[in-house]
Amino acid sequence: MVDALVVADLNKSFKTPAVQGLDLVVRTGELYALLGPNGAGKTTTLRMVAGLLAPDSGSISVFGIDVLKSPLEAKKVIAWAPDEPMLYERLTPLEYLEFVAGLWNVPPALAATRAEDLLQTLGLWEDRNRRCEGFSRGMQQKAALAGALIHDPKLLILDEPLTGLDAAVARQVKDLLQARVAAGATVILTTHILEVAERMADRIGIIQAGKLLAEGTLDELRARTAGQGGTLEDIFLELTGDQGALRA
């Protein structure tokens, strides 16, 4: 089976290097958590995968499609949901989904059904005709997530999807993501909530200074580090060398 994402020798610099020679493989149908300290290059990497940022060098392939050579083809199967919801405050959730469905050219009947399903699942159906400007952070995040899912993406990329969400909404989002993975989709997410990665992710990648430090299942990561049987937090701190900073 073709891998969902293959990143090879990826480089991107702004004033300083953000991503340096990154190699990454995400298998089809897995939930992959990309972890790293602030400024590690997670968002830059994912923005390049989503076709929002051009790399300086390297290659990115999504389900065998070269993102750099055929960006439009690749974008058809990708959904990108950043931590700040990509919403129009003066549109209603239904109008927003109508707009996004138009961008991905979703067949009308399918778009209508999916919109209703998504809004029902995420508890936004009653608010479908209210403008998003009055929504809470959680509601806005859910509306944006519905937009990301309206074209049924094969690869869902989420940057800090649980930031600022209350426990109930966070649970809804996590359930939805797991349901997507169960249905065969691939999910890549970044998070600072290590517990989420520990519980949800099939595999975890830890990135620092634009380089992949370690990758694998939780057990594989445990095996790689000196502190056997530790939590993901212990592993993460040991790998990124932040323990001293934490103690200080």
Partner: protein, 512 residues
């Protein structure tokens, strides 16, 4: 400085003025270059107009007569109205886009004090705007012939203080009367209408023609001089204050200060409470009339409809659009009048003006639809070519103009085919070129940051104006049958070639 004054009203005022100053710098292209250009323009204007006027008025003594009193009162009323429209608009923006108000309200400082500083800063900003406009004339006149006229600055500052108090009072009153949500829309429309009405009054010559408009002014003058029309007591105060009569000036200034501090201490706490309520009102927005969703749309249609919806639902932007379109009315009227007559030169000039203004209006609207994009990443991440979005956004920007201009241009083509065809071609070229400049030099930003053309680069604005002016000039010459029309047209094309940015260059600029 801020350290010394922290927590005091003066400290808060310093903070507010620093923020305002940085906003001015940001608007002028993020540096002092824009301000230097403004200063140069002012200096040139001072030399060309102010100094000669100063010498012209050297032996002139302004009489305190019925006519001068009425004129000064009306002038000050006009200035005060414009100031109130600005302060009212800013006051309601403060209610909704509170920015750092939450931070300031949680600090152990009375909200009354915080708001007094904010409104005082608003008065200072408004005062400086008007002071900047009159300075090229007033300063040379004061230096050369009438030093006491410098008192006008104090009158202006006092009026700004009064206008800030009015803005605060009106916004509080409107908030109580019609509620949180409607206050903003009403305030924005009110501000736009005041601005537009002054513009339209200034165009009375265009509407009625020179002879008829002179008749109107003569009638107004006769009415003003009619003794049976009694002036209210104190009507001469503004004029006497402007001329620098010490006691009157002191009274005027003290009156404004008392009004300002009276209103801010009376309504300050209430305004703070309203600001808190306005925040809650936004989360309780009423459902809008449900419309059947249209799923059978292409990316172009979806984007076009989205842009129109967003434009229509933003009262500030709608009033901005209307205001821009209103600027076309006098030109349109001139075109209609001259097309019926045989005034070739006037018709050619009006056609050129129409082309220039079309470019300016199209440029402003295109700036809003292209750069006011809240979900830029959503569009960039979709499998749709960026060209589709650009075309849809430009189409949405051009729609209000097309609605306004199409009947006028059709009429012109019918009545004066040569002028009509050149004007039609010129308007299309001007709108397209100004739209393209906005695509090449776009700066995506949140829609709520687009109350004015904030963030727009001086370079792009200047380029837009230059290309539109060249095309307008070309249209004028072409309408007159002058072969030199080709020269400005070629210059405009050359400028566009120089300005052009490829998709890759645009993407690179956006990355920065």
């Amino acid at each position: 400085m801020a350290q010394i004054l922290r927590g005091t009203t003066a400290g808060l005022l310093f903070h507010e003025l620093r923020l305002s100053w940085r906003a001015v710098l940001a608007r002028s292209g993020g540096g002092v270059r824009g301000l230097v250009i403004i200063c140069l323009v002012i200096m040139v204007f001072t030399g060309v107009a102010g100094v000669p006027l100063g010498f012209f008025l050297r032996n002139y003594q302004l009489p305190i007569s019925r006519l001068t009193i009425i004129l000064s009162d009306l002038g000050l009323l006009a200035v005060a109205s414009l100031m109130v429209s600005q302060t009212l608009s800013s006051a309601t923006e403060n209610l909704y886009q509170r920015g750092d108000l939450d931070l300031l309200f949680t600090a152990p400082i009375p909200p009354r004090k915080t708001l007094a500083a904010r409104f005082m800063a608003l008065a200072v900003t408004v005062f400086l705007t008007f002071a900047l406009m009159v300075s090229p004339l007033l300063i040379p006149v004061a230096i050369i012939s009438h030093p006491s006229w410098l008192a006008f600055y104090l009158v202006l500052a006092s009026t700004a203080l009064g206008a800030a108090a009015m803005g605060l009072a009106l916004s509080t009153f409107l908030f109580r009367l019609i509620g949180a949500r409607r206050t903003r829309a009403v305030a924005q429309f009110l501000a736009a209408i005041i601005g537009a009405s002054f513009f339209l009054v200034s165009q009375v010559n265009t509407f009625f023609g020179r002879s008829q408009s002179q008749g109107i002014w003569a009638q107004a003058k006769a009415l003003a001089l009619d003794e049976s029309f009694k002036l209210p007591p104190g009507a001469d105060i503004p004029l006497r204050a402007m001329m620098g009569q010490p006691l009157v000036l002191l009274g005027y200034t003290l009156g404004a200060i008392i009004l300002f501090f009276g209103v801010s201490s009376w309504l300050g706490d209430r305004f703070a409470a309203d600001a808190t309520m306005a925040s809650g009102a936004d989360t309780a927005n009423a459902p809008i009339k449900a419309q059947a969703a249209r799923w059978d749309t292409s990316a172009f249609q979806a984007t076009f409809r989205k842009e129109l919806r967003l434009l229509w639902r933003d009262a500030a932007l709608v009033s901005n659009v209307l205001l821009r379109t209103l600027y076309l009315i006098p030109l349109a009227y001139l075109v209609i009048r001259s097309a019926r007559g045989d005034t070739g030169l006037v018709l050619a000039a009006a056609a050129g003006g129409l082309v220039f203004m079309s470019g300016q209006v199209a440029g402003t609207l295109a700036w809003i639809t292209i750069s006011a994009e809240e979900a830029h990443d959503l569009l960039a991440g979709s499998p749709t070519r960026q060209g589709v979005f650009r075309r849809a956004k430009l189409a949405a920007a051009y729609l209000p103009m097309v609605i306004f201009l199409a009947p006028l241009l059709a009429y012109l083509v019918w009545v004066a085919p040569v002028a009509g065809c050149f004007a039609l071609g010129g308007c299309i070229a001007s709108a397209i070129t100004c739209g393209l400049i906005n695509i090449w030099y776009q700066k995506p930003s949140k829609r709520k940051d687009f109350r004015r053309r904030k963030g727009s680069s001086w370079f792009a604005t200047l380029a837009e104006a230059s290309v539109a002016a060249l095309l307008g000039m070309g249209t004028t010459f072409a309408t007159l049958g002058n072969p030199w029309a080709i020269l400005p047209a070629l210059l405009a094309i050359g400028l566009m070639v120089l300005l052009r940015r490829s998709d890759a260059q645009i993407a690179l600029a956006l990355e920065d």
